[in-house]
Symmetry: D2
């Protein structure tokens, strides 16, 4: 599978059929380094039918789009507070299914009284129980405050904010004559936008120029995609249309600083068309 | 003097000549509600020659441009931490000349042991002395941290940041076909930009649209200028070119939301030209 | 009236009778520098019958004992967040009666648009209205959090905590062979305990020894009582019986460091008797 | 070895002689659940002579007494910020010897790019390098501030503070007629004091009474020592003589609340004798 594509559920079905012994399937929801979204609900249905356990990495998607452990039938669903929820980083949030708890409890080799243990945390959500280790109070309080804000705004509104910001960003990028990294817009993430590096451009120099001249920080690719794409994050508090405008301007300005042409005005107008259509 | 003009030093000279009994002159440096800068150094020289005391309100200019109590020969020079210094609001910062201290000490009617007293604070800068009232610790610590940042960046760089942001904002406003409120660009403030309200526009509705649609907060006029102008602040942490772009986009978007035309793209391109010329 | 006595309501009645022209009466509830409580409810009834306005300073009593603007019929009732409420200092809290609002509104000379103005703040409590000046956000948030704690614990419990801590402190001081400054225990404050300086003792040296050796900070007298008494504060978060023990030990330890005898053990036992009797 | 004794270096020497194949030795410096200190410097010398690697758990001793990785020749020396350094909990601090780095680098099975990896953190101390995972900023800043305070006070003074508080606590406990848990005072920890549960006492009820009546929190034993001892912590900011007094009073008060006799006065006097002897 190329790095700009999403996982094909048919390929998962084929693999499971070919290997009936598969007992655990692991999938990343938002593939952050490429800005693509994998169809975890479809994959989850296949895995459940097969009888295997499903582990989902939803670190940079949960809170920024409509995704839940139940919808993808995840047994272990991992997310973090520092991405779309806008809380401080440091903690890990886990959704664990009933059958996953049973499986771990029945397994004498499952880590216990260890930093690797999930079992230790089974009752940590309860006001009556203590944490298995000394809690990082500032992080817990930060998460608590972030969840209050998330619930007060309403999940649907938060997801819509992420989606609108992503669509405005993509419209601007295309209006500037650039290409998105994801093979199809349907798989482009609502929480980060990956832009294909134009021919002849030093991608690291682009990010440095955006940071120095406009104070805007982009990310690069990782491993096989290093140098091939630039990522614009729009998660949590930065999932606001005005940040799309700031990012597009900084992107254009950085290109121009490196001697490339980039019509910032057209990009901003295209982003505004999307924003205005949303009312 | 119309509200879009600066104080004319010649008018001050004439007034002092006509009224030799004048003993105190008070002047506002940055007239925040109209976004204009008064020539306090020239006025200060005239007042000093006359022998009067000079009180300067530099609340929204100090820290954002090259101004000092000594340069304008101020006897009382007032500023605040919450504007260009980017600290929390709440405290007042005062520069007091030697002759002002002497004058107040010799005056038995000068407030003492009172919230109105300046004398109580003479030694409050000293590590060895206590404050005359219980200090607002969070505000003092916030100011301390903000001054560390100000000095680490270097005053000249901070002033240049404010100036560049103001010039980019003004260029964008003009490119959008709007007019600046100040009569001449030479008197336009580097810390806030006042825009003349276009004919037929409900200024309050403009600000509301910018806030709701783009999350950007502008200010209006005050008193005689209410409804006649909109102010874009760029002080302290918002004195960054990328904030000029955000403000211009929000301004254009708000105009369009109210049925007016506004070429956001042209505005952003004009702002970028200024930013790029600064290197 | 000696500095260790409370205001006698009969003296107030006599003065009002002798001077029917008196239109404003001002009284301090807890006279902090002497640790005594004045009978403001009785005084307030006399002032109301006379038809004068009553101003009450309840800065260091409100929140630490059962006192309210209505009970003493105050027209202006002043308190602060940094004492018994345990919030950060910096703000002032005012209770204003309906007739005081009317009086000020009818007075063209009452300060308006000024740091001295009370009228400016009439509607500041409303979520719909802005503050008359830029708010000190950290202080407002601190007060908000402190009030949440105060209400969650319950005012009656908070007052009982202050009372118990004060009684334990007084019992310990007397058991140590020292004298309270207030002429009678009935007028001793529940929020601070003033101790008469023993003959031959350098009161400043006592406070310095307590601070250096035990890290406990006491206050001295003011003006006429300077050197004559030492004050042990027990307001807000320090209004806990264990702080009475810490204060008594530090007091005894400081006395001993200066060559005086002081039976710390007896003092602690006496304080514990009070604490244990409260259950 | 009974739970109230320290590790005997001779026993370590015997074991190493008997088992020349031992390649790693692990030792806990301050055995927190029993309040005893193990002789890690002596043990470290034996382990070094043997040629094995030494892992030291100094979580609740480092910063509170004179102990360093070099002195005990530790290869891995683990401590935490939330104990004697008085910083927020959450981070782990590691001292790693040169030979330990070499050993891990040469080991292809040593964890890498993992939450279990030590190698990932080799250069994390450098201002030029990034952390291997997103840092918990509040915790890092809290540690930074705590280390500033530690160094400003001076390590020797901090250790002396812990020692004095511990000695005052022990003197008070003995004066009250209670017994220390450690077999000999020479092995009692300067950072926590373990008290043997008197016959007929419900240890949990004791801790509950201290918390409810005096707001003082003690800890119990763990595993084999559960119910047999009560621990009084005096680490970091609570390593102050006045906290010894508060702890002793709360201990005595809790005993009395449960119907046991306890002479709080004698305990406080004994603690003060120790404090006063230290000047």
């Amino acid at each position: 599978m190329p790095y700009n594509e999403a996982v094909d559920p048919q390929a998962v079905a084929d693999m499971l059929k070919k290997h009936p012994e598969i007992s655990v399937v692991s999938v990343c929801h938002h593939d952050t380094p490429s800005g693509t979204i994998n169809p975890i609900n479809e994959i989850g249905a296949l895995v459940a039918a097969h009888g295997a356990y499903l582990i989902v990495d939803a670190v940079s998607s949960f809170g920024g789009m409509d995704t839940h452990p139940e919808d993808c039938r995840a047994d272990i669903y991992v997310t973090g507070p520092g991405k779309c929820l806008g809380a401080p980083p440091g903690l890990t949030l886990l959704g664990v299914s009933d059958r996953a708890w049973e499986k771990m409890k029945a397994n004498p080799a499952a880590p216990r009284a260890s930093v690797l243990s999930i079992l230790d945390w089974e009752h940590a959500w309860s006001r009556e129980k203590t944490f298995p280790s000394t809690p990082l109070l500032a992080d817990v309080n930060g998460l608590d405050a972030a969840l209050d804000l998330y619930l007060a705004e309403g999940p649907e509104k938060v997801w819509a904010r992420h989606d609108l910001t992503a669509r405005a960003t993509r419209a601007g990028i295309k209006a500037m004559g650039l290409s998105l990294w994801p093979a199809r817009e349907a798989i482009a993430s609502p929480t980060a936008t990956a832009v294909r590096t134009p021919a002849g451009l030093d991608e690291k120099a682009l990010r440095q120029a955006a940071r120095e001249r406009y104070g805007v920080v982009f990310s690069g690719g990782r491993g096989a995609t290093d140098g091939k794409l630039t990522r614009i994050g729009h998660m949590g508090p930065t999932a606001q249309p005005i940040y799309a405008v700031a990012a597009l301007t900084a992107f254009a300005g950085a290109l121009r600083a490196l001697g490339h042409e980039a019509e910032a005005g057209k990009a901003v107008e295209a982003a505004m068309d999307v924003i205005e259509a949303a009312g």
